[in-house]
Symmetry: C2
């Protein structure tokens, strides 16, 4: 397949393939996400199953000038029960994707993480990867961890790498370039994460991490800007053309992507990783467009 | 004075005031910075004193179509001796600003940090503050620490706040809004920096940190975007209008500003803080314009 280089391109790809995935929305009476859900439904790549308070869900759909009869709605007024049913449907293959509606993230994730009934396999690392679409970069940037792991240790970082690589492959990138981000390119004990990075590079050299080209620590310039690589004269196989950025902390990944959304004209699609099926958890402050892209990404990954 | 809202505005301000500061450049035979030095000289706000290998400095100036006789050049071929002389001139008020040329940052800072002959008072915290000029933000953003302190503790953070406030005041901001940056707005033991932030807010409430409005932890959206503050309904005196961002780690500040330089059309001016006189240390990978702005900022602060 051709490499998908934008989030719009991702949507086009879904439409061309005729993808249509079932999305179980837990506590769907959520005016923050209903617009994006309707848009995904109308686009044709998603069939939402709206689980929650049917009266309020119907009101919201009517308020958005949409015909409620074109949606499957499961009437469960208790939030916890609605989440449990949505998780069950995904686990038992009645739906392809789980999505959070008007329920606290903690309560929602508790059901996802439930050992017996949840969606995370034992010992799997849960993480969050964003596909960032930046007007000034000529392809997508897969960025993690923007939401789950505060200070990823080396094993969590390796999981993040594998998730980013798996995602990049769905976008048609056979051997993604993965940059391990630090403040400088010098591994340095003052930044423990950079020592992990050096170890990860060695694992990659020995083929113990596969299907990608890894280097780090690298700063944002060396990871994403060829001119900086030339000026600094640092030999790196990433060569300013990173597909994925693995950040040393949630704070750094989070500040980077939020800065790009505000000041760089960025759009994003993000997804929880590590679960047996895609799980969509969106922040209220994401744009409507980014919410739509999150749903599209979940359908691509399902 | 009127608030200066851009780096160009800063240069205009220097010219209107007729500022002219002496800049001692250590090991000045540096083709990475000579262009910016010449530009600052021609602009009129800086008088460079070029210390280093006179033959090579002269060649560089001629190569840039500049008349070497219009510059004061002090011929010292040994790098360490050139740095020592530049530091001495600044310490003894023969120059207003110290600037690094073609010499390693470690060697240069060793002279700056020398207990007897250096420029850092005992117990002072050395930090680095950048003034970021972003096309999509309607004023400057003072960002720290982008270069010196890996994981600032609470005392280092308070020093960073005071430096940012002092810098903002030179730009005509009487009571700058200082946002302590985290991944979310919830103080949380999983992110130790956010606990420091809560303590810092309490110190500020009690008037133990002065001349600014402080809040945190806040994410980039709540710090810099009014719309996000309204959507999230978080009451904060920063209100999406931060003047200064205090980051929890060098990695996060560094990734944020480098991302903005690459993808947000940003320009910056940065300066070491804590020394008795301004110290300019520039990265090779900064743009020529940013190098010029660094020199201008040092003249504003001198």
């Amino acid at each position: 397949m051709n490499q998908i280089k934008s989030l719009n391109g991702m949507v086009q790809h879904l439409l061309e393939l005729g993808v249509n995935k079932k999305i179980a929305v837990a506590v769907a009476e959520d005016d923050n996400t209903i617009g994006a859900i309707i848009e995904a439904h109308l686009s044709g790549f998603a069939t939402p199953i709206l689980i929650g308070d049917k009266t309020r869900i119907t009101q919201l759909l009517v308020g958005e000038n949409t015909d409620p009869s074109s949606f499957q709605i499961i009437d469960i007024k208790d939030n916890q029960a609605a989440v449990a049913e949505a998780v069950r449907m995904v686990k038992e293959d009645e739906a392809d994707v789980l999505m959070k509606g008007l329920v606290g993230t903690d309560k929602f994730l508790k059901a996802v993480l439930n050992k017996e009934k949840g969606l995370l396999p034992p010992k799997a690392v849960m993480s969050y990867v964003c596909a960032l679409d930046l007007p000034k970069y000529d392809k997508l940037l897969f960025v993690s961890d923007t939401a789950v792991l505060p200070y990823p240790d080396i094993n969590q970082k390796i999981a993040m790498i594998n998730y980013s690589v798996a995602m990049a492959k769905r976008f048609g990138i056979d051997k993604p370039k993965v940059a391990l981000i630090g403040a400088t390119e010098k591994p340095n004990a003052a930044f423990p994460s950079t020592i992990d990075d050096a170890t990860i590079c060695k694992l990659a050299d020995r083929g113990q991490i596969k299907d990608c080209i890894i280097d780090g620590p690298l700063d944002i310039f060396l990871a994403c800007d060829k001119a900086s690589v030339e000026i600094k004269g640092i030999p790196t196989p990433i060569n300013g053309e990173a597909d994925a950025l693995i950040f040393p902390s949630l704070e750094s990944a989070n500040s980077f992507y939020k800065g790009q959304m505000l000041f760089g004209g960025g759009e994003l699609a993000g997804l929880i990783q590590g679960t047996i099926k895609p799980v969509v958890v969106m922040s209220r402050s994401e744009s409507k467009k980014s919410k739509f892209y999150c749903i599209a990404l979940s359908c691509l990954m399902a």
